[in-house]
Symmetry: C2
Subunit: 245 residues, 2 copies
C-alpha cells in the first residue's frame, strides 16, 4: 500500500516529466480522461493533482483549450546597470534581437524630459523585440540623442547591443541609470510585438542611462512579458536613529 | 489672435482644472458636445486636446463610459527596506489599514521556503488592505513564524505597523530583506480586496525580511494596484574590467 495519497503519485510523476524535459514548456497535458486511464485513478484524483501543479506554477489551465506546461520565469537581478544581452548571457540564455523600426522622431514631453532636451527636438528611436532562446521576452523602444543615434543606427542592431556600441565604439561610457518600474496591461502594439493577448500583464521599465558629467544619453521603454520574468533585489534597513527622525 | 493652436488652449484649461483640484481624480469630463459648446471650438479641436491629456496621463478614456480624470501615480523609492506606513508618511500621505483576516495556517511550499521552515509547519497569516488617503493601494498577506505571530496578532493591526511591532515591542530588529517583483493580473481575491476588476494589472512583491543572524522573520506577499504606484531606483554600471570577465 502507498503511504501517500494517490494524487501525490500522479502529481510527482507529471512534475518529474516537466523537470526532465519530457514534457517541455507549452506542451499540452493529456486530457483528464487520458490521465485517468494512464494512472488508473479516479477523475477526482487527477483533478487534485492538476490543481496542485497549477499552484506550483508548473502548468496552467487555458479556458476552453486545455492544460499546458508553463514557461518557467527568468529571475533577473536588479542590482546594477546591465543590458539585455549581458543579462541573458549571465543566465545562460542565448539573446537575439529582431529590429522592428529605426527612425528619427520628434521627442514627446516624456522623451524630452528624460534626455534633457526641449520637447519636439529630433531624436532617434529604435524599436526591437528581444528574445531569449528564441522566445520574445521584451519589446524595447530606445531613444537616443540625434547625433549619437545617427551613428548607432548605421550598425547591425540585431547583432550589436546598443550598450556595447555606446561604450566600445562611440566613446560614451555608461555610469549609472534611473529605473522606473510599472505593472501595466499590454497595449495593442506591445501585444503584437510580443505575441501575447492585448491586456496581458507587462513590466514597463523606463530606464535613463547617464554617461560622464551626469549627461543622459539613452532613454528606453522596456516592455517585458510579465509571465516570463521576475526581478529580485536585496535592500537594507536604514539605521534606526536616522529612520525615526 | 492667439499665437497657439486652439487645442492647446482647451488642453491647458482642462490641465489647469485637474491641477488645481476643480476636476478631482475619477471625475468624468464633460462630453465632446459639452466641451465644443463650452470652448466654442470644433469637435476636432476638442478631440486633439483630449488626446494630448490622455498622452500626458491626466485623463483616461473608458470605453462606453466616457473620459475620466486619472488617479496620479505614487512614485516610491526602492532603495531601502521600509514598510507601508513609513513609505506613505514619507510621501505626505495618510496611511490606514483594514484587517481582513488573521489566523494560523499550514505553511505551503513557498511560505515554508521563505521562512526556512518545513512545509506544513503552522504559521500566522495576516491579511490587510493598506490605504493611502483613503484609497486602497495594496492587499498584503503577511506570514510570521508562529511564536512571533501569536504575539503580533494580539495587537491592533489596523493601527500598529507590523515592522514597528517587531522592532519596538518584540525585540526583533530588521536588518534587510529580499524582494521579488512580478507583474501580474489581479486574481479574484485580490481584485475584490482592492475593488478593481479581476485581471487588472498588479505589482506582486514578495518580501522576506531578516533579523540578526540572517534569520527570516516576516514573509509578505504585497499586491499593489498597478495603476496607482510606480517604483524607482538608481543603479550603477559595474566597473568595466570586471564586467567583461
Amino acid at each position: 500500500m502507498s503511504r501517500f495519497p494517490l494524487y501525490q503519485g500522479v502529481e510527482s510523476v507529471l512534475a518529474g516529466n516537466i523537470a526532465d524535459g519530457s514534457l517541455p514548456p507549452e506542451t499540452q497535458l493529456p486530457s483528464e480522461d487520458g490521465l485517468v486511464q494512464r494512472f488508473k485513478v479516479s477523475r477526482t484524483t487527477v483533478r487534485k493533482a492538476i490543481q496542485n501543479l497549477v499552484e506550483r506554477g508548473l502548468v496552467e489551465v487555458r479556458r476552453g483549450k486545455g492544460t499546458f506546461v508553463t514557461q518557467p520565469k527568468i529571475t533577473q537581478e536588479l542590482t546594477e546597470l546591465t543590458g539585455f544581452v549581458e543579462d541573458m548571457q549571465a543566465l545562460g540564455r542565448t539573446p537575439t534581437a529582431r529590429l522592428h523600426d529605426k527612425r528619427i522622431v520628434a521627442a514627446d514631453e516624456s522623451v524630452a524630459h528624460h534626455l534633457a532636451l526641449e520637447p519636439g527636438t529630433l531624436v532617434v528611436r529604435i524599436q526591437r523585440v528581444r528574445l531569449a532562446d528564441g522566445v520574445a521576452m521584451s519589446f524595447d523602444e530606445t531613444y537616443l540623442p540625434r547625433d549619437l543615434g545617427e551613428k548607432v543606427v548605421g550598425d547591425d542592431l540585431e547583432a550589436e547591443p546598443v550598450f556595447a556600441l555606446l561604450e566600445d565604439k562611440y566613446g560614451t561610457p555608461l555610469v549609472e541609470a534611473e529605473y522606473q518600474l510599472e505593472a501595466a496591461a499590454a497595449d495593442p502594439v506591445t501585444a503584437h510585438a510580443l505575441q501575447v493577448l492585448a491586456g496581458s500583464p507587462i513590466f514597463l521599465i523606463e530606464r535613463t542611462s547617464y554617461t560622464t558629467g551626469n549627461r543622459p544619453v539613452d532613454y528606453e521603454r522596456l516592455h517585458y512579458r510579465g509571465d516570463l520574468i521576475r526581478f529580485v533585489t536585496r535592500l537594507a534597513r536604514r539605521a534606526k536613529a536616522s529612520m525615526r527622525r
